[in-house]
């Protein structure tokens, strides 16, 4: 399997551990990732709020780059996934398409809408398959109770994302179970992480993140995992302020999705970049038996 890899801005910089883990996991599972140094930011939902057509155009350009290479495009971020999927959908509207084409054609960019936009979670569950992954697990995450946290834009609006139930998604939990972990079901897993208002009203962002972490904790989760680096910023990097705002200690390690896959497939903690997290992951991983036991 060969895919155009769309890391998104955060995984290229402050969330580099996500990029490390993604590359390790894909290498191990035989997925060839093709880099496109010309990919731009997806707009992250912000450019969309200033100029929708511009946001569609920059993503149509991204998709067209993958199309020119004949590849489907894989994201590792719920927001990138949402924005790129939305652009594909908007490009089916003739009026939008005409405006965007008029901006792209002079640059020799020909958008056709033939490349699929998919997320690593979906690639693992649908394309690689849970049986294949289960067979390759070297260190089952036995006894680790994990609360999956999906990220809004992977799920909603459901008619635009077109994958699984936005209320009762199961793909992430099924993946966690295949890794030997014990998925924890809690309402917060489909809720907002607060990130979009981190720079508008930090207290709101912190309280919302804190509530979801508490929900996972109160349902017995030892750790959380997310397919979105923006949720990771909210849940991990800003967990300290969130704990103060909700008035309870949280101490909740938060993994990027491919980090848990990698650990189960035998990667070391260093290979997964775990030292870059603000909340230490060591204590919960110490409880997981080493490979071969």
């Amino acid at each position: 399997m060969k895919l155009a890899y769309y890391p998104g801005c955060v995984a290229k910089e402050s969330g580099k551990e996500l990029d490390l883990a993604t590359r390790w996991v894909c290498r191990t599972l035989g997925i060839e990732l093709v880099d496109f140094p010309k990919f731009s930011c997806c707009g992250s939902g912000f450019i969309d709020e200033a100029n929708e057509t511009l946001n569609v155009a920059i993503n149509a350009r991204n998709i067209a780059l993958a199309e020119a290479a004949g590849l489907d495009l894989m994201t590792v971020c719920s927001t990138c996934q949402g924005m790129l999927s939305l652009a594909k959908l908007r490009m089916t509207d003739a009026a939008v398409r005409a405006k965007v084409d008029a901006a792209l054609r002079p640059l020799g960019i020909d958008y056709r809408g033939t490349s699929k936009v998919t997320h690593l979670l979906r690639v693992l569950v649908e394309d690689v398959g849970l049986e294949t992954i289960r067979a390759k697990v070297r260190r089952p995450l036995a006894g680790l109770k994990v609360g999956a946290f999906y990220g809004c834009h992977l799920l909603r609006p459901a008619d635009e994302m077109g994958w699984e139930s936005p209320e009762e998604p199961r793909s992430f939990e099924e993946l966690l179970a295949a890794l030997g972990a014990e998925p924890v079901l809690y309402r917060g897993r489909v809720m907002c992480c607060g990130f979009p208002v981190q720079f508008v009203k930090a207290e709101t962002a912190g309280r919302i993140a804190g509530r979801q972490i508490l929900d996972a904790k109160d349902h017995g989760a030892h750790a959380m995992a997310t397919p979105c680096p923006l949720c990771h910023i909210s849940l991990d990097a800003y967990q300290g302020p969130a704990a103060k705002l909700v008035g309870r200690p949280l101490d909740m390690p938060v993994f990027h999705l491919p980090q848990l896959v990698g650990l189960a497939l035998g990667a070391t903690e260093a290979e997964m970049g775990l030292s870059r997290h603000l909340v230490p992951t060591g204590p919960v991983l110490a409880k997981v038996p080493p490979a071969g036991h």
Binding site: S40, E52, E168, C192
Partner: protein, 322 residues
């Protein structure tokens, strides 16, 4: 068991403030056809088992918007939620009152906050003298003008969106999805003289507190898609007045940030949003993040072909939203 029926276990929230010490869930099991709406089940409970059950309803046809409640966690209309798919997915039907509003009795909530927010956006036409409305005469709009309303006229004010909204839950300053979708409807109405004033006011009255989580759009039984109309309002507010608030400065700053190299310069975005001095309170925690993730403070290398992005901005970023 009657033919074609299945046992349907209900767990219904019961609470009378001032009388009960805490809420409880009461179980009832009914034999129902899978097509039966949850509302019909609740009415059977009330009429045949427990007349003290408090609930609000009227038309039973998804028109009046009275019977919104949380069914298996999702805010929606009880009259158009059949029991069958709920049983298939959850094995039971957990019924709770709407969220974000205080309970008066069982499934009945006090909707004052919802209606006060609606009132706050002045949901009435402020007639534009250039688009006069002759006394006793209709004031026609063209089909294209009507299209700009999108689905907002379909709103039945059921408050399912208000119930589902995490921004409402956190901050009473947030008007809520329904009020903002209604505001959109008046802002794009060519007969309304209040457009500029409405857009300027909403920038400081909660517009930027929307989390764009789309929970409202999922909850809405009428496909009003409030989160998308809020997005449109944000663009229109920036076009009307420029970026005056943290929220709008963040959006405009982000757009400029990406124009400069095609990829996000994280530290610069914080400065674009808060200004140099406004950044100071962010510093102590920012330093903690920087120690683990030093890239937050560096300027990332520009993408290849950043000039293409610049051409796209030149072609499309002149356009004003609507």
């Amino acid at each position: 068991m009657a033919e074609g029926t299945v046992p349907v276990p209900f767990e219904v929230y019961r609470y009378v403030p001032g009388r009960d010490t805490s809420p409880r869930f009461q179980r009832y099991t009914l034999e129902l056809s899978p097509h039966t709406p949850v509302l019909s089940g609740l009415l059977r409970i009330r009429d045949e088992i427990d007349p003290s059950l408090g609930l609000r309803y009227s038309c039973r046809s998804a028109i009046c918007g009275s019977c919104a409640m949380r069914i298996n966690s999702k805010s929606r209309l009880a009259c158009e939620t059949p029991v069958g798919p709920e049983i298939a997915r959850h094995g039971r039907i957990v019924v709770e009152p709407m969220g974000n509003q205080p309970v008066l009795r069982d499934l009945v909530v006090d909707q004052s906050a919802f209606w006060n927010q609606y009132q706050r956006i002045e949901p009435h036409l402020k007639v534009d003298p250039r688009h006069p409305m002759p006394a006793g005469q209709p004031n026609p709009m063209t089909p294209a003008e009507v299209d700009r309303f999108e689905n907002t006229p379909r709103c039945i004010a059921c408050a399912a969106c208000f119930s589902a909204c995490p921004a409402v839950a956190d901050d009473p300053a947030f008007p809520g999805p329904m009020a903002l979708a209604k505001l959109y409807r008046f802002v794009v109405d060519p007969r309304d003289a209040g457009r500029q004033d409405r857009l300027v006011r909403i920038q400081t009255e909660g517009l930027w507190l929307c989390l764009r989580c789309h929970l409202c759009t999922e909850a809405c039984p009428k496909e009003v898609r409030p989160s998308e109309r809020i997005r449109d309002l944000k663009a229109m507010a920036i076009a009307a007045q420029g970026a005056t608030e943290h929220g709008s400065r963040h959006v405009v700053g982000f757009k400029q940030n990406i124009r400069e190299g095609g990829t996000l310069n994280e530290m610069k975005l914080v400065r674009q949003t808060y200004g140099l001095f406004g950044m100071l309170p962010q510093l102590p925690h920012g330093l903690k993040i920087w120690r683990k993730k030093p890239e937050v403070a560096r300027r990332p290398p520009a993408i290849e072909g950043a000039d293409e992005l610049e051409q796209i901005y030149r072609a499309l970023d002149t356009e004003e939203k609507r």
